[in-house]
Each structure stands twice: as structure tokens, then as C-alpha cells.
């Protein structure tokens, strides 16, 4: 068990989500761009059309300068953000899959060294070897996809791993096949915007510009169509019942689905327009569509994350960073069962009893510790992770706001409420004994009072004596 980092101004979970979405955007278009470049370069040699190499030069340069490095940086960023915000979640993945990630590292190296070789040797080595570099980049990128999909799928559908404890069972999990096909298809959708962006920077009178825009549009529309079909007909079908229930629940913010649909609609319309009339393509428009795609990916990745609530690894590790179901094959016991019997305070390393002499102050301090430990990975539990835009307070499912909206203000009302949260599909029951639950309720009442100002504890909180 580790200390908790809540975040500063922005909640730690949102840091993870923003960095991860950027990584998905960049890595997706990078992988498929390597295939698209291969297609264009082959065509250039086959049709004896060296003009197409102008596109290759521009695309490779963009990939070299921007996407490979920023893709890697954002990938490292995910590690740092999850390490700080969700250490036991990433620890479970690392201790299962470190050697798979080690294997993926070779693909990263191949990608970065490969794009450097690919760009700098264009026109400086023979066509056969340069085309071979294009194949290597395409294979290398696809290798990274193949590895990461196994790890990504594991958290939602660990499958037979829950019985065998073997990493191969977790890696080739039930959602592995549909997800790899779906993501591979989405990549071509995303990269089509990249290709159109690159083509838009070619001279307007270039005879190849319209050709590339049309090919990219077809590739992109096909990619999105295939991905959509896989999502509807294959991926949804293999999802566990629990994930489908959460998908239809209030856990998915109401804005998320319209956001995904709107941004996907904008992208598809752009691709249709580009195919119908390649001259409408402009650099600034491509960038706008890229931004729209980022928002769509942000929404989609949030859905993927929320679907496994209340777990980090479905059926094993919950969002409060505790192993709630042991793994018999590896002789790992449940951590929550003994804590429910003996209480959390005093039985986890960073949750030692308060030394305050005043009973109320002691309960508040312990309640704060417990709330941070049990709730902070999904909720704002203090004003530290809030910010204001005009009259609006932006927070991540602030518990103060949620409790106020449900008319729960006093410690007793809140204690009664949190006693029942285990019945929600996206929540586990609070871990601990009655003392722990009451301490959490006391802290939350104080937090609500200080934030929303509707509780009798507001004055006490405002006096500064309750947030310790």
C-alpha cells in the first residue's frame, strides 16, 4: 500500500486520461502512417512516379520530429502519471507483463531508429533497401500495437488469468482479438487525417496531392467502418455482463457518448468531403479535425476506463488499490476481508491512527485519511483537485457535490448512504469496519460543508478545525 497523490488543481485521474488520450491519438496515427507510407512508396516505384516521394519525405519528417518522439514521451507520461496516481494498478501490470513491455521496448527502439534511418536515407540508398525500411517501420509499429493490446485488454477481461495466474492467459485475454482488430482499423481512420494534413502541405499544383487525399479518405472511411462493425458485432458481444451494465449506467457521464458521436461525425464528414472534392482540404481544417479526434478518443478511452469500474483489474484489484479477490494460483489472499473485520485504520502502512487528543478532531483526521485512500482515485475528495471557471467548479465527481445533490449532509446521513454504495454496479462497498465508515462520513460531512456550505458543520469547518 502506498501514499495517495490526489493531484493538484486537476485530479490525478484526469492527468492520466489526458496524457493517455494524447498517446493513443499519436501512437495510432503513427502505426498506420507507416503502412500508408509503405503503400505510397511502393506505388511511387511501381508507377515510376517520383513525385509521390515528396509526400513520403514530408510524412516521414513529421513522424520523425513529432509523432515517434511525442508518442514515446506520452507513453512514458502514462507510466509516470499512473505511477503517481494509481501505483498498485500499474504495479499489477508491471509484475505480470514486464517482459512483454520489455519486448515492446525493442519495437520502440526499432520505431525510433527506423524512422531516423527512413527519413535520412530517402534518396541516399537503393530503392529495395529503403522499401525494406518502410516494411520494418510498418511491422515494428504493428508489433507495439500487438503487445499493448494484450495488456490493455487484461484490465477489463483478465479471463483465465484469474484462475491460472499465468501471464500468457492474461495477455491473450477474451477481448484481445476484437480489440486488436478494432484498434488496427481505427488507426487507419486516424492516420487518414494525418495523411490529408501532410498532403495539404504539398504545393497546390502538385499532381499527386489530390491522389493522396482520395486514397487517404478511402483508407480512413474503411478503417472507421470496420472498427465500428467490430465494436458493435464482436467487442460488445464479448464484454462481461458487468461491463455492459456499467456502460448503460450513470457512471458514464452524459456528455461522453454525444461527444464521441459528434467528433466521429465531423471526421467522417470531413473524409467524405475530401474524397468528393480533394481541393476542399486545407491544413487548418485538418488540424481542427485532429483536435476533434482527440476529444473523441478522450471520450472513448474514458468509456473503456469506466467500464471496468469499480476495479482496476476486473475481478482482482479494486479502484481503492486493494486486492479484493485473492489469486489462489499464486497464493495471494484477499486484502479486503481481514480489513473488514479488523478495520483499516492501524492496519495499513499509511493509515496509522491519529494522535489527536480531541475525539472529534481524531475522527476527522482518520476520516480524511480513509477517504483519500478509498475514494480519491475516482472522486475529488478535497478542494485541492478543483478549479473554477466563472461560477462553475470543475472537479472529478466531487463527493461534496454528489452528497449535497442527494441531500446527505450530516455524518449519520452520509454513513447510512455509504453503507449502501456496494449495491451500485460501479462501486464496491466501503472497506473497513463501522468505526472507519463513521470516520469517513464525518470527514465527508465536513468537506461538503466547507465546499457546498449546506451542512450544520459548515461553521465548524470554516473555523479551520475540521480539515486536519
Amino acid at each position: 500500500m502506498y501514499p495517495v497523490w490526489e493531484g493538484v488543481v486537476v485530479h490525478s485521474a484526469m492527468f492520466i486520461a489526458i496524457i493517455a488520450s494524447f498517446h493513443v491519438l499519436v501512437s495510432h496515427f503513427t502505426v498506420a502512417a507507416s503502412w500508408f507510407n509503405l503503400l505510397v512508396e511502393r506505388r511511387a516505384y511501381h508507377d515510376k512516379n517520383p513525385g509521390l516521394l515528396e509526400y513520403i519525405k514530408k510524412s516521414a519528417y513529421g513522424l520523425l520530429v513529432f509523432s515517434y518522439v511525442f508518442g514515446a514521451l506520452a507513453g512514458v507520461g502514462i507510466w509516470f502519471s499512473t505511477t503517481a496516481g494509481s501505483p498498485r494498478g500499474i504495479s499489477t501490470l508491471i509484475h505480470n507483463f514486464v517482459l512483454y513491455w520489455g519486448a515492446e521496448w525493442y519495437f520502440f527502439l526499432i520505431d525510433v531508429v527506423g524512422i531516423t534511418a527512413y527519413y535520412y536515407t530517402l534518396g541516399r540508398i537503393d530503392k529495395k533497401n529503403h522499401l525494406r525500411l518502410a516494411w520494418i517501420l510498418a511491422f515494428g509499429g504493428t508489433g507495439t500495437l500487438a503487445v499493448i493490446v494484450g495488456i490493455l485488454g487484461f484490465v477489463l477481461t483478465p479471463g483465465h488469468w484469474l484462475v491460472s495466474g499465468q501471464s500468457l492467459d492474461g495477455f491473450y485475454n477474451p477481448s484481445f482479438f476484437p480489440q486488436i482488430v478494432m484498434r488496427f482499423a481505427v488507426m487507419f481512420g486516424v492516420t487518414s487525417i494525418w495523411s490529408i494534413y501532410v498532403a495539404s502541405r504539398m504545393p497546390a499544383n502538385s499532381p499527386n496531392r489530390e491522389d493522396i487525399v482520395r486514397i487517404a479518405s478511402v483508407v480512413g472511411l474503411s478503417g472507421f467502418l470496420i472498427a465500428f462493425l467490430v465494436w458493435r458485432l464482436w467487442y460488445l458481444a464479448i464484454l462481461p455482463d458487468h461491463a455492459r451494465t456499467v456502460l448503460a449506467s450513470a457512471a458514464i457521464p452524459s456528455i461522453t457518448v454525444p461527444l464521441i458521436e459528434t467528433t466521429l461525425g465531423i471526421t467522417v464528414l470531413f473524409l467524405i468531403a475530401a474524397f468528393a472534392n480533394p481541393r476542399v482540404v486545407r491544413t487548418d481544417l485538418s488540424i481542427v479535425v485532429f483536435i476533434a479526434l482527440f476529444l473523441g478518443i478522450f471520450g472513448a478511452e474514458r468509456v473503456r476506463e469506466v467500464m471496468r469500474k469499480p476495479d482496476m483489474v476486473a475481478g482482482y484489484l479494486s479502484s481503492n488499490q486493494l486486492i479484493f479477490t485473492g489469486l489462489r494460483a499464486r497464493e495471494i489472499p484477499s486484502e479486503t476481508e481481514p480489513l473488514n473485520r479488523s478495520g483499516v485504520i492501524g492496519n495499513l502502512p499509511y493509515l496509522m491512527p491519529s494522535t489527536q487528543s480531541d475525539p472529534h478532531a481524531r475522527e476527522l483526521e482518520e476520516g480524511h485519511l480513509l477517504t483519500v485512500q478509498e475514494c480519491a482515485s475516482c472522486h475529488s475528495v478535497s478542494t485541492q483537485t478543483e478549479f473554477r471557471i466563472g461560477d462553475r467548479t470543475i472537479a472529478l465527481r466531487s463527493l461534496a457535490a454528489l452528497l449535497a445533490a442527494r441531500g446527505r449532509h450530516t455524518p449519520d446521513e452520509i454513513a447510512a448512504y455509504i453503507a449502501g454504495i456496494g449495491s451500485f454496479p460501479y462501486m464496491h462497498a466501503v472497506v473497513g469496519n463501522d468505526h472507519d465508515r463513521h470516520a469517513i462520513a464525518t470527514y465527508l460531512a465536513s468537506f461538503e460543508a466547507a465546499t457546498v456550505g449546506k451542512s450544520p458543520l459548515a461553521q465548524l469547518s470554516a473555523s479551520g478545525g475540521t480539515t486536519r
Binding site: 493538484v8 514515446a72 526499432i110 540508398i125 499509511y350
Partner: protein, 408 residues
């Protein structure tokens, strides 16, 4: 709750898929590669600033600064990618220490990636828009500051991770839990200065010698310039090595004393310094000297990597957290996956490096050698084999899992 209990309680119950000592070796080896690129970025950035801020700098100096302007973003990029491997391995065998440090310093941990991104972007901005005539040199200066800041964050995480005796007090100062991760809890200036600046000058000196060797063979290269770079590389090595030694001794005299390793650290630094001085003083032709310097420098980086690791092992071992006792569960599926990919990865990387090397031997189009061509063919074939194995394993595991789940 004592530090030993904190460390023990946080260990992941899944354990390591290999004996932890193997990851320890891999950690040191890959960190050495990573720190080479990072320190090279720092050294090259300094060169850019010195050349373009001094109006009286020679034309050769400015020409080399333009080369450095290209080296900086590439080094940051390679530094990031090579840094992934040690990041994986440190999390595996030092999970308790590493994750605690990241949680306690969460704000800085998150900020790290934004700092590196900005440093990379600014260094590219200078390379694209400023390297020709020295305009926008401010972008290079800020980039350098940011690289140093990123190094400081890594230093902070490493230093906090080996102070378990303070973790509880840092998390709950005066009983009040601090979940902001903004406090800078530990910093050892001598260690930071040695690892970043002490090593930066030597990395740059070695690369200058390599530049002299590589471009010295090109008939179209400006011989005077190439010789100037090689000579100055040798001189830089001679000047930088004593500074490197002094900074290393300062590190031994501060953190070394605190962890009871001052004498072995001082001996290691002095031995490395003597070896480096011998190389830089050597009058060998550049063709031999460059490779000797590169080899010696990697030995030195490995040696310092071992020192870093010894400090960590000494401190955490004192609290009963030893790599030797880290639980492991041999995971043959994962081991096979990694080894098969290693064969592929090493072959493909060899091909890529040889292609780049051969393509740079002339200003004109180059015919790739038959040997390299064969490695290229092998690379593609290995990729095909890898994907076939990947799919066969996926189907086999999926069918086996489904049969097991269905029961008898």
C-alpha cells in the same frame, strides 16, 4: 510502522517473473545507455549556447554548434526511448521504493513529461529556425534549463526512494496528510551535478572524437573542420576529466559518507578518471582513439551505474529490502516471449544501424553492402516468423483457456 515494514508491505504479491538479480543487471546496463544520450543532450546544448552567445567564437566552433543543435533533439528522443527499459526494471524490483517516491512527489512526477516535451520542442525549434545564424538562441537556453529540470525531477525521485525512514513523516507532516506531492523532500546537489554535468562533458568529448573518425573518412568533408572537432574533443576530455573526478569525489564526500560507501565510491571515480585521462592523453590515430574512448566511456557509465545501484542496495538492504530476497515466480511464457522478441529486435536494430552507417559514408547515393542486405532480408523474415508465432500462441492460449473455463 517502521521503514522495513513499509517496504515489505508494499511489495507486489505477484513477485517478479525472473530472479530479481537479472532485472538488476538489466537495470544498470540499460540505464547506462539512457544516461549517455541524456548527458550528450546536455553537453551539446552547452556547446550551442557557448558558440552562439559569444560573438567572437570561431567559424569552426559555430559549425560544430550547428551539428550540436541537431544532436540535442535526437539525443533527447533517444534518451526518452532508452529510458523506458530502466523505468520498467526499477518498478519491478524496487516497486515499494519507486512507487512511494512517485506518490510522495506526484506533482513533480507528472510535471516531468511536460518538462521533457517542452525541452524537446524548444531544441527542435532552435535546430530548425535558429541553428543557421544563431537566432532564437533563447530557445536553446530554455531547452537546456528544462533538460536540467527534468534531470532534477529524476534525481528527486531516486533520492526520495532511498529514504524510507522519512516517508511517513513526509506523507503526514504534523499529522496532516499531504496529498499534493509538491514538496521537494530530498536533494543531493553533488550527486546531481556529477551525474548530469560531470558526465555531460565527457559524453560530448567522446562524440566529438567519433565525429572526427566518421567524417574523417569522407572525401567530401571539410578536413580542417573535422580535425578541429576531433582535436577539441580530445582537449575537452582532458579538461573535463579532472572536473568529473572532483564532482565524483564531492558526491562520495556527501551521499557516500551518509551511506557508508565514501571510500569505494571515491576509488571507483578515481579509477575511472585515470582510465579516461589515459585515453584522452593517448596520441593514437583518431580511427583507434574514437573507439577506445567510446568503449572506455561505456565502461565508466556502467561503473557509475553500479555505484548508483550499490547505494540503493546498501540503503534499502539496511531496511531488509534486498533484491536477493525479492520473491519471483518463473514465468516461462513471458520469458519465451521476451527472448524471441530479443532475437528479432537485435537483428533488426543491427540492420538499421548498418544502413545508417553505410548511407553516411558518402554524400552521394550509396550501395548497401551485401552483408547488410542479408541482415535486412533476415530481419523481414524474422518479423514474419514473430507474427506467426504470436498468432499461433494467441489461438493456442485462447482455446486452452476456453477449454479450461468450460470444465471437464
Amino acid at each position: 510502522m517502521n521503514p522495513a515494514h513499509l517496504l515489505h508491505a508494499a511489495r507486489d504479491p505477484l513477485g517478479s517473473p525472473l530472479p530479481a538479480s537479472i532485472f538488476q543487471y538489466l537495470l544498470v546496463a540499460t540505464f547506462s545507455l539512457h544516461i549517455f544520450f541524456i548527458t550528450l543532450a546536455v553537453g551539446a546544448s552547452f556547446t550551442v549556447l557557448l558558440a552562439f552567445w559569444n560573438r567572437n567564437s570561431s567559424e569552426h566552433f559555430r559549425s560544430f554548434a550547428r551539428v550540436c543543435a541537431r544532436i540535442v533533439p535526437n539525443s533527447i528522443g533517444f534518451g526518452v526511448v532508452t529510458g523506458i527499459a530502466p523505468l520498467l526494471f526499477v518498478q519491478t524490483i524496487y516497486d515499494s521504493a519507486w512507487y512511494t517516491a512517485n506518490a510522495l512527489e506526484g506533482f513533480w512526477s507528472i510535471l516531468f513529461i511536460f518538462i521533457v516535451s517542452a525541452a524537446y520542442s524548444l531544441s527542435y525549434l532552435f535546430y530548425l529556425r535558429g541553428a543557421k545564424d544563431g537566432k532564437l538562441v533563447w530557445s536553446s537556453a530554455i531547452s537546456l534549463l528544462l533538460i536540467c529540470a527534468a534531470g532534477a525531477v529524476m534525481h528527486l525521485l531516486s533520492t526520495v526512494s532511498i529514504q524510507p525512514q522519512n516517508w511517513l513523516a513526509w506523507y503526514r507532516p504534523h499529522g496532516i496528510v499531504d496529498t499534493s506531492g509538491t514538496a521537494i523532500h530530498a536533494f543531493v546537489p553533488a550527486r546531481y551535478a556529477f551525474l548530469l554535468f560531470g558526465q555531460a562533458t565527457i559524453s560530448l568529448a567522446v562524440v566529438m572524437l567519433l565525429f572526427g573518425w566518421y567524417f574523417g573518412r569522407r572525401t567530401d568533408a571539410d578536413r580542417g573542420f573535422v580535425e578541429w572537432v576531433a582535436d577539441h574533443g580530445r582537449h575537452l576530455g582532458l579538461i573535463a576529466t579532472p572536473i568529473y573526478a572532483l564532482l565524483g569525489l564531492a558526491w562520495a564526500a556527501t551521499q557516500g559518507i551518509a551511506v557508508h560507501l565514501a571510500i569505494p565510491m571515491a576509488i571507483a571515480v578515481l579509477l575511472i578518471s585515470v582510465m579516461l585521462l589515459a585515453i584522452f592523453m593517448s596520441k593514437q590515430p583518431i580511427q583507434r582513439l574514437a573507439f577506445q574512448a567510446l568503449g572506455a566511456w561505456f565502461v565508466a557509465l556502467l561503473g557509475i551505474g553500479v555505484v548508483r545501484e550499490t547505494i540503493r542496495a546498501q540503503v534499502l538492504g539496511g531496511f531488509g529490502d534486498s533484491v536477493a530476497t525479492y520473491p519471483y515466480h518463473l514465468d516461462w511464457g513471458a520469458i519465451s516471449f521476451f527472448l524471441v522478441t530479443t532475437v528479432l529486435g537485435v537483428t533488426v536494430l543491427l540492420y538499421l544501424i548498418r544502413v545508417m552507417y553505410e548511407s553516411g559514408t558518402s554524400a552521394n547515393e550509396v550501395e548497401i553492402s551485401a552483408g547488410t542486405d542479408r541482415i535486412g532480408r533476415l530481419s523481414i523474415n524474422l518479423f514474419i516468423v514473430w507474427f506467426l508465432l504470436f498468432i499461433i500462441t494467441a489461438v493456442t492460449v485462447a482455446v486452452h483457456g476456453a477449454m479450461q473455463s468450460a470444465g471437464p
